[in-house]
Each structure stands twice: as structure tokens, then as C-alpha cells.
Subunit: 221 residues, 2 copies
């Protein structure tokens, strides 16, 4: 039973709150029973009252109090691919990145591919928002030029709507930040989601686009 905050495992968890340390160590922390159950082989797991005094575990929690278990894992990165996947550019909010990883797990067969300027998918908020999908479907990293499939950009300014195009595999849906958005060569051919207002959260737009593309690729279109 760990009874001192000076313990090396607790120090590691504290470090993993910072991206620089996550990059350096190639590790990340996942909190909570659901996530730890979904996880791959951990470097180590600390359970409150079993491996560590509860107040010491709480003190290193990245998400709030009452944490009962924290696992530390190596980061894994997939290769881009699949009949349907999604590429993100400049999506800075970790909650959105994690939510899109969760939606892509439910709706696509390829990984979420992170382009420039995206939040770290192994940050605490992204891992939490992914609800275990980070383990089931680890993300990939690639520039636009490195993508193996056909890029189809989603943009509020697209001339055609998503349900006017015929999505053919391998399809890579491309989404930009809420402000800023996509490289110009993508914007020119972009499609939009047919909405009453222009305002859709990027994770909502991603989920709807994945749903629509998956539905039509199954031939329901």
C-alpha cells in the first residue's frame, strides 16, 4: 500500500497531466473503472484502498475527486485506413477529439486521423470523452497528403449537401476547427450538412457525417 506522495507511480501520474511529459514518456493515464476495464495491458494500475491510500490517489486525479482507480498505459498509434475514416484539422478542444473518437468507433471502420493543430487524444479530457474507444480504436496521425483514401471535406460553406454526393470507399471525411477550418484545396470541393442554422459543434458535424456516409455506403441511400 502506497502511503507517500513521493511514490514513483504517483509522480508518473502527476507528470502525465502535461503533454510534454506524455510525449516524452509515451504514456497516458485513464481514470475510472469503465476506462480501466476497457484498457489494454497497463504499465500499472492503482486502486484506492488497495494499492494506494484514497486521498493520495485523489490528489493526483486529473478529472476530479472520488477517483477509485487510475491506470497508466503506453500510447498506441494506428495507421490511417479503412473504408470510412475521419481526418481532423485544428480541432483544439480535447473533449471534441475524444467524442469524435467515440463516434468514429461506433460508425466507421477506420481510425480518427489527427492532422495539424489538434488536441492530444491522450489528454485526460479526451480519454474520458472517448469512453474506452481510445483503446478499442487508437487514433492515427497524418497530414492531408499522407491520407490513403478519397478526402471529402465537410464545411458550412459547401455548395452541395452531404446527401447529394455518392460516398465511395475508401472515404476520408475531413473536418476543420469551428473557426479556421480546412486547407483551401479541400474547401473548394466541400459538402455541407443540410441545417437550418450554420452552427453545429464540430463533434456533432463529425458524428452526423459519419452516420450519413456509413448509411449510404451500406446502400440505404
Amino acid at each position: 500500500m502506497i502511503t507517500s506522495a513521493d511514490n514513483d507511480k504517483l509522480k508518473t501520474i502527476r507528470k502525465l497531466a502535461q503533454k510534454s511529459w506524455r510525449d516524452k514518456l509515451g504514456l497516458f493515464a485513464a481514470e475510472g473503472e469503465d476506462l480501466v476495464q476497457a484498457g489494454w495491458e497497463p504499465e500499472f494500475v492503482l486502486r484506492a484502498g488497495v494499492d494506494v491510500e484514497p486521498e493520495l490517489l485523489n490528489a493526483v486525479s486529473l478529472l476530479g475527486s472520488g477517483t477509485r482507480v487510475i491506470g497508466v498505459y503506453e500510447q498506441r498509434w494506428a495507421d490511417p485506413g479503412g473504408d470510412l475514416s475521419i481526418w481532423l484539422s485544428g480541432v483544439e478542444d480535447p473533449g471534441n477529439v475524444g467524442t469524435i473518437i467515440r463516434s468514429a468507433h461506433a460508425l466507421a471502420d477506420g481510425p480518427v486521423v489527427l492532422g495539424p493543430g489538434c488536441a492530444d487524444p491522450y489528454s485526460p479530457k479526451a480519454v474520458r470523452a472517448s469512453m474506452g474507444s481510445i483503446f478499442a480504436r487508437p487514433p492515427a496521425r497524418a497530414t492531408l497528403a499522407e491520407l490513403p483514401g478519397r478526402p471529402l471535406a465537410l464545411s458550412a460553406h459547401g455548395e452541395r449537401t452531404l446527401d447529394e454526393v455518392e460516398p465511395a470507399p475508401p472515404l476520408v471525411l475531413c473536418l476543420g476547427a469551428e473557426r479556421g477550418g480546412l486547407p483551401e484545396e479541400l474547401e473548394r470541393e466541400a459538402v455541407r450538412i443540410d441545417v437550418r442554422s450554420e452552427s453545429l459543434n464540430v463533434a456533432m458535424a463529425a458524428s452526423i457525417a459519419l452516420y450519413e456516409a456509413a448509411r449510404r455506403m451500406r446502400g440505404h441511400g
Copy 2:
């Protein structure tokens, strides 16, 4: 220029962090230029460096530092209605409630109707997540029995998929919490979204369902 934290307007903003005070005063606070621009007639607006010393405004900020403007508004509540709307039960996360308000504004013509156990849509996180849609389309409150339209429940355990049913107006999509869910009489007739895994965030499920219902009601189905 307000130079004391004892100022009544600053005190009001501080109180509005708490649901009990929001309920009592019938007011809420919105932070940031985007939201204040989207807002209806305010009770008052405080701008950093114009109406109030910046550090005093920061000190009452509910969302973080660097706040340049906070507006205080009366709460408005709509009546349930419209050809397409959504009813929520037990959605406790204010970010999800706000995000669903934003998606419904983009995809439906009726308000988000809050059933039992939902987060306060006028909480700071919900208002922020709604990105102004809280002003454009204020929420409603109703029990299941009070809903004017046809309820169609979404559930991971539904026997049919959403694209197997013919959505006819007035349609009320019904979504429950991530755990717990919907009243039993609704679960029996529930439809599901066709996904590879069972795990979709409630706001994603809501957005996809609204998109699909709106698309089919336009006759693209």
C-alpha cells in the same frame, strides 16, 4: 466604472453560479462577446475596462479567466411543439444539454423539451455549449404525458433502426441518460441508431437522430 467587489451587479453574477439562485431570480449569466451579441435584451451587461475593472469581472467569471463581457438575462421558456422536436430524460451533464440545444436549433423546428432529471439549461456550461442557440431557441419543460407530438424513443436496445421507421410530424424524439434511460413504455417501442458499437454519447445520438428525422421528413428518405 465598478471598482468594488461589493457591487450589486457583481454579487448577482456570483449568485447565478448556483441553480437555487437562478431559479429564485429567474435570471442567468452569459459570458463572452459571441453569446452577448446573440442575446435578447439584457438586465445588464458588464464590459471589462468599460463598466468594471477587468480583475473584478474575472473574479466572478464562471467559465475561466480572461472574460471580457458578461450579460445577465431573464430566463425564457418555450412551449413544446413543432413538427420535429426532442425530449430529454435524465440528461444530467450540462454540456450535453447545451450541445443538444445547439443541434436542435440547427436541425429541428421545435424546442428541446426537458423532462425529469435534466441539467439546468441556464447553467453556465449549458449556456456556453449552446453557443447562442439558447437565445435563438429557448428550451421547454414537460413530462412525457404533456408532450403534444408523437413520441419516438431512441435507445441502444431498440429492435428496429431509425431508418426503418417512417417519421411523421409532429414527431418528438425521446432520449434518455447514458445510463438509466427512458420510461419503460417508451423503451418497448424504441428504435436504435445503426452503429458498430453500442457506445454513442447522448448528444451525438440526439444530433444523428435529429438529422435523420429531418432528412426523411423532407422526403429524401
